[in-house]
Symmetry: C2
Subunit: 285 residues, 2 copies
């Protein structure tokens, strides 16, 4: 864990869901584990770019060298406006794009609906040595899927177990599955949606359906609670990140990624050629 | 063209290949159009991040809103060590990853070899509203393809015309094709390869085949000259960027991208809903 003095508890530990967890009792303006404010948090986020970038470059080097065994998959779930896009831009965006595999899951296509809900997900698991990011994920199928009854109740039930198995298999493949729910309050969402309506340069981020889903806030919170309860496992735990403060959410995700990469502990690949021989060849070329 | 005072000639104009162009006569340490040094160039690169990011965000907004008609495709070609990776990391890396579609073309697979050389390329053309990047491209099929005689001479000949047609069709689809050759000297390449051999943290970037290809430097330069001559068109011109100075190459590519995006001139999408109605719905939600 790469900590600085302002993390009194490592982010992974402070944010990991434990038995008895209650989503509605989380203070969405809190900053678990971090004893700093926006000023220090913004500075720490900036300072954390280099360590994250460095670790990811080593991992990417392994993927190029063909020696990578591990990868990281960041799964981002959240209500609208909670800040997924900002995480992608300001946290993931600080590493070399060559090593990133970003998958945004929208409403399933007709073809995707003909298959099991995990069919389109499995195809986007990151290759060894990569940092994968799921902007929404298979969890939509037990969130909006449950709230909007997009599948029969017994199918929704089946999915929790299917997800646990799927993520266990991913972990067996060396994928560090980092599951994150960005958690904002309903009031915070109203403010953010209002800003999108106020500003013409934000109109594209607003969709009338956002308010339709917002009307079902409590049902969504219950669906999140069930999903988190049913799919938190030692190899793929959930982290619920209070996200009313964007700086904190970004800093926390950065820490979780550093943590996952340090767990892989990627080293620069050794040369698979004779360095001295190559120096001589190069000198005479 | 977004210029600052140190560009005496816009990058696109200074670098665009014109009839009579001679690759071997280019000074790879020169900085065409730019009257500055490493210090100012580095500062200008940093200052250019925000305009590039802003333009790309508008384009991405259009893609989300479904109103995008244009896209940008940066085609990067170069001899080994010329700095393609640095362009991806330091120039492309400054924009929102959500709007970027990066394709790295390696040695073709068996399946790819069963198809026309453009088969795998066409699939990776950027969607409307995106910034596509080809790290190597269909030009490999007339560069290493020609030098290494990977296809019959008449097939190589056919490809130049096929490429011109292909890129014209892409342009018709609204794709701004920005073709860049990063051009380093053979001596500069030796220094960069030597550094990769000196530093254990760079060993992964070195491959013994780099020296094999290096031995064919002059043949490669001829193949580039032919490819550039045969495929420079008004809708998809080549830009040859002297790249011994990394800061200049990055600054120049940044300018070319800004230029292409300004040509698209993306505006924030207008709301396709009634803003006042939505404000009322939100307020009562």
């Amino acid at each position: 864990m790469s900590t600085n003095s302002r993390w009194s508890t490592p982010a992974a530990e402070a944010l990991r869901v434990e038995p008895g967890f209650s989503l509605v009792d989380i203070d969405t303006r809190s900053t678990p584990g971090y004893d700093g404010d926006k000023t220090t948090g913004t500075a720490d986020l900036e300072a954390g770019r280099a360590p994250l970038e460095g670790l990811q470059e080593r991992l990417f080097a392994q993927s190029v060298a063909g020696t990578a065994t591990g990868s990281v998959l960041l799964v981002l779930q959240a209500m609208d406006t909670a800040g997924k896009g900002g995480i992608v831009r300001h946290v993931v965006g600080s590493v070399d794009p060559q090593g990133v595999e970003l998958a945004s899951f929208k409403k399933p296509t007709a073809e995707e609906l003909e298959h099991d809900f995990l069919w389109r997900i499995e195809k986007r698991l990151p290759d060894a040595g990569r940092l994968g990011v799921f902007d929404r994920s298979h969890y939509e199928d037990v969130l909006i899927g449950r709230v909007r009854e997009l599948a029969p109740a017994e199918e929704i039930e089946r999915r929790y177990g299917a997800i646990v198995n799927f993520e266990a298999e991913a972990a067996d493949l060396g994928i560090r599955v980092v599951k994150v729910m960005l958690h904002i309050s309903k009031d915070e969402q109203r403010e953010r949606l209002a800003e999108r309506l106020e500003r013409p340069d934000k109109h594209w981020k607003y969709n009338p359906s956002d308010v339709d889903e917002r009307a079902l806030w409590d049902e969504y919170m219950r669906a999140y609670q069930v999903a988190i309860d049913r799919t938190s496992t030692p190899v793929a735990p959930w982290h619920v990140i209070p996200a009313d403060r964007k700086w904190y959410a970004r800093l926390a995700v950065q820490q979780l990624l550093v943590d996952a990469l340090e767990d892989i502990d990627p080293h620069w690949p050794a040369a698979d050629y004779d360095v001295e021989v190559e120096k001589a060849r190069l000198a005479s070329s």
